[in-house]
Symmetry: C2
Subunit: 123 residues, 2 copies
DNA sequence: GTCGTTGCAAAGCCTTTGCAGGGAA
DNA sequence: TTCCCTGCAAAGGCTTTGCAACGAC
């Protein structure tokens, strides 16, 4: 049976307590608030496991690098403002379901990054 | 005035002769067929320049890492087949123009990665 | 007791940078 | 001649791995 260590539990609760995608450093820092000896390698190893198990997914953010978030979050896309450099979660999906692919192709996943100018910077 | 070196010319013609996104190693290998002394740092430096000038764009491919392609190619998205692991260019855009964002947000760019099962593997 | 997990340190990619020499205008 | 660019080697991030000790079952 797979041992449930305090380290893995800590990493999981970091994600359960955050609604935003997190970087490895952020996961490590927050995890250490619960298990002070938490090591970076342990974080990497568990992230890899959790991604393989499908509990987490990786996001490749053009500015912030690799981020992680829970796979079962409500569907959304990320919007990056080139002016203020902030990242926003936008609800819903911008894919057009009526656009057809060449026949035979089956879409299972999609990752969309929008960028431009946000609400506050477009005045 | 900005010198046009044989190295930069070689890198540009690599892209003019390829219709697919290329990795740094591929660019280096093909560039060396034209300028045998071409160095990896030179490739990195010129890629960075060409991206800043808007001639190239970077793609963050989940499997193959960072790829580069000309920005003025016909609009398309990449599709990655999880079975055979190949990457396809799919013509057209799957974004739904009628989907509205929260007001004030202006989309200037978007990057879409589709993945699933391709034509050949879905039989 | 057994086997997976952790911490630590070292090694591995990929990418950037410092510096001296070389090439374009 | 004057800069910018190149090649080389070294350094920097981020991520993975080997190994011995530890912890869950």
């Amino acid at each position: 049976m797979k041992p449930k260590t305090s380290q893995r539990t800590a990493i999981e609760s970091v994600f359960n307590q955050s609604s935003q995608p997190l970087s490895v450093d952020e996961i490590l820092a927050r995890g250490r608030e619960m298990v002070s000896t938490l090591n970076q390698s342990t974080v990497y190893r568990n992230l890899k496991l959790l991604v393989e198990q499908g509990w987490l997914k990786q996001i490749h953010h053009p500015e912030r690098g690799t981020l992680y978030e829970r796979r079962d979050k409500t569907h959304h896309h990320l919007f990056h403002c080139r002016v203020c450099n902030r990242v926003f979660d936008l609800p819903g999906c911008v894919l057009d379901p009526s656009k057809t692919l060449p026949s035979g192709f089956i879409i299972e996943e999609h990752e969309v990054f929008l960028s431009g100018v946000c609400r506050d910077c477009s005045d």
